[in-house]
């Protein structure tokens, strides 16, 4: 039994023209695994992530996180589930600009009414791990994008979630910051054993994963596992992407 079980998941958006965004997806992610989801725009990868992050509801099929089905929960219960079990990292950071970095990071804990001592302890630990101790008292607009994303990762992991979900975390960063952020995510995965699911366009980001799953037109297409060398894995991903229909030069690893 995996940490995350996705069984026969389908999503249909009803409208004037119904669109089948996801079709019969089966996917298992084991405890401690670091999995990337790749695919072209409109392939359904973000829909899949939204479903797993309980923000969207599936049309059919089910999702089990730690043997619990979040889609059967009541709204308030679900909110609590998200806040305790899941961690989110977004492309545009989603840090609140009215708060300092430190306040942003401890926000999930204050909502849980944890003691100040516990919060300080965890804040210190996570900030040291991610190398953002010196910016803790700054405001979000006073720090760089990479630092903001690291703060967002700190916020997503301070409560030790069972599943960390990242949606294009390097999408708004330059290549140096991208590497840095991905190294941090890898480190968290390795040291804390946090199961991580990453949705990305970026082959460089994907190359940090243990396994990359490709989605095409709402269906699972293929998956490749990483060997010893990240550089080789990166090349494999590029090859796979061009095989999928794109041209290699469209998928430049440098996204500014």
């Amino acid at each position: 039994m995996g940490m995350l079980e996705i069984q026969k998941l389908s999503k249909i958006y009803n409208g004037k023209v119904s669109t089948r965004a996801l079709n019969n997806i089966d996917l298992t992610i084991e405890q401690g695994e670091f999995v990337g989801i790749m695919g072209a725009s409109g392939s359904g990868k973000t829909t899949l992530l939204n479903m797993v992050s309980t923000i969207d509801t599936p049309s059919s099929g089910k999702i089990l996180i730690n043997n619990q089905n979040p889609h059967q929960m009541k709204k308030n219960q679900l909110a609590q589930f998200r806040r305790r079990q899941l961690g989110f990292v977004f492309q545009d950071f989603n840090l609140l600009d009215t708060l300092t970095i430190a306040e942003n990071i401890v926000l999930p804990l204050t909502l849980e009414k944890k003691s100040l001592r516990e919060m300080d302890q965890k804040l210190k630990a996570v900030a040291e791990k991610l190398g953002i101790v010196e910016i803790l008292n700054k405001r979000t607009y006073e720090v760089s994008g990479g630092q903001r994303q690291r703060a967002a990762i700190a916020r997503a992991t301070i409560h030790s979630p069972v599943l960390l979900l990242a949606d294009e975390p390097t999408g708004a960063l330059d290549s140096k910051s991208s590497r840095n952020v991905m190294e941090m995510m890898e480190k968290i995965n390795q040291t804390d054993g946090t199961t991580t699911m990453l949705v990305t366009h970026d082959p460089l980001a994907a190359s940090y994963c243990h396994r990359v799953v490709f989605i095409k037109d709402g269906e699972l297409y293929n998956e490749i596992h990483r060997g010893q060398n990240r550089q080789d894995f990166f090349q494999e991903i590029i090859d796979m992407l061009s095989f999928l229909g794109g041209n290699a030069h469209e998928l430049s690893s440098v996204r500014v």
Binding site: I55, K75, R83, L96, L99, E103, L107, T110
Partner: protein, 648 residues
Amino acid sequence: MSFRQFALNNIHRNASTYIAYFLSSSFAVMIFFTYLVFIFHPSIIKDQTGQTASYGMIIASYITFIFSFLFVLYSVSAFLKARLREFGILTILGAQRKQLNYLIFLENILIGTASVITGILGGLLFAKLFLLFGENILDFKLPMYPPILSICVTVFAFMALFSIISFMTTIFIRQRKALEMVQGSSKPRKESKASIWLSFLSVASLSYAVYLIAQDGHEKSAALALLFNSIGLYFFFTQLSVVIIRLLNRNRLFSWRGLNLLWITELAYKMKDNARMFFMITMIITISCSTAGSVLAIQNYVENTFTESPFAYTVSQRELDSTKKGISVTQKIEHTLKQKSISYQKLSSNTLELAFQHVGYIRFIRHSEYLEMAKALSLPLVSLQDREALLLKSPLITQKDSLDKLAHLSFESPQLTNSLGNLKIKEQYTKTLFLSEYTAVVNDKTYDQIVSVLSDPDIIDQRYHYLIPSWNNHTIPNTNSIELKTGLELRQWEYSSPIDSTEELDGYINSRAQEYYTRKQLTSIAIFIGLFIVAIFSIFIASFLYFKLFIDLQHDQRYYHELSKMGLSLKEMKRAATKQIAILFYIPLFFAGIQTIVGLSAINPLFSTKTDTVISGLWALGIFTAIQTVYFVIVRARYLAQLKRVMV
């Protein structure tokens, strides 16, 4: 598609953005129009008290118009801010400034015309209701009439207003750069700054104001207190509040707990953004509540004047020109009463007014006359020695606490002091014999001594008092009571009597019911207008707050959407948002409440002991709070419904 078509389409396809602006303008028109229907009403214009009050009513109409103007201006700027992005896109697409101005102008005129039409139509319906309400309060018949004049004035005033506003808005847009407009309000907000020194200034001015009020102040210090209070309050909202919130925020035991982190930090921004509005609202609420409180107190005083008056009529005799023939007023009264077969008791008094140290003027009556009155009115009977006085204090006048402990009355005039020394106060009671005056009773010998020392026969006032047992003064007379009708009749006679070279009336009539009625009508009109203005202010304030919230709505939706993804539950969102809205609504009310109570208790000594300005102020505040609470509940529900949509 011509540009004009574009403007029209823009409006009817974007109805939701325009609707708030349209409704608020339409509402402002409606209020103004209804008010005009009232003040231009033929019965109001004809009526005498109506004429007296018309000055106040005209001022009130100006106030209403000025506030409508501010209100519409505010709505339009809120409305344009929400659409900055749209203007930015148009600019990038190559729209000229001229075209943008034309677009805005056209939109404003279209919306303005529509809201004037709907406002007047709505006002016609509402006016009937308003007139009915007025009938109830004023005891007038106010039938509906075709309000041509009001329609003309409203159309003219508001079309002018909308034209001026469209010109002003084009200036508002002109100063912006395209990029700024496209980004709109999505830029990160800088931390709000506050100056410690100005915060100290705020505390200092507020404490100084309190100190000034606490001292037994005269007019000058009251004005100073008002000034310092305003300064203090202004800096309280702009500076001190930010400092306080910052301190709260710094106290992590409090701020890092539950939802506190969310609403406190948001509040720091909302406070700073809205400080001037808060200040204005607080001042407006204070002014309207204090005014309402004082008017209520005056009404209360008018009622007390009636219930405290023992005599139905008092006639003050006056000196006649030796060349003229006097018409006897008392005869007329007695004749009228006999005609209606109403039994009466006639009492006479010869009194004089003397000045005393620490007390002021006191009216003196001789013991023998007092005894007669006391028997009729069941007042305390006291026997008095020489140079002893019985003091009757009317509850209608301002009380001086020092008087209770006073054992002697000392004359101001050295002449009287030399011959009589001091008067010993034997006993004092809180009773009314003569309206609004202190009355002292002395025995006949002392009275005659005083008169002989003064040796001036003119100083003695001769009065006749009519006590009518069948007319009691415990209940306020209604318009049908015989007492009031007779009073109005006598007054009519008094006014219409010929004043020429041969004849004149030999005295003045004071009829308590008629006095009461005339004063009551004046205060009723004041209350009516006061209520109207308070209602307008409270509606405008609620709308200001509503707009303020809905300008920030997009930002707040994004904010809560993100939090919701992180696991903020619906319940928690509601709690945090409710706290924020409640603070916006009730903080100004809270400060206005304190100011009103402090202000009214400062002027309380000016009123008689029977009237408590603070209590009437509390009434006004209570009503205001109730109205605001209704708005709060509505606005909160609408706002939360909007936020709920983005919760995942």
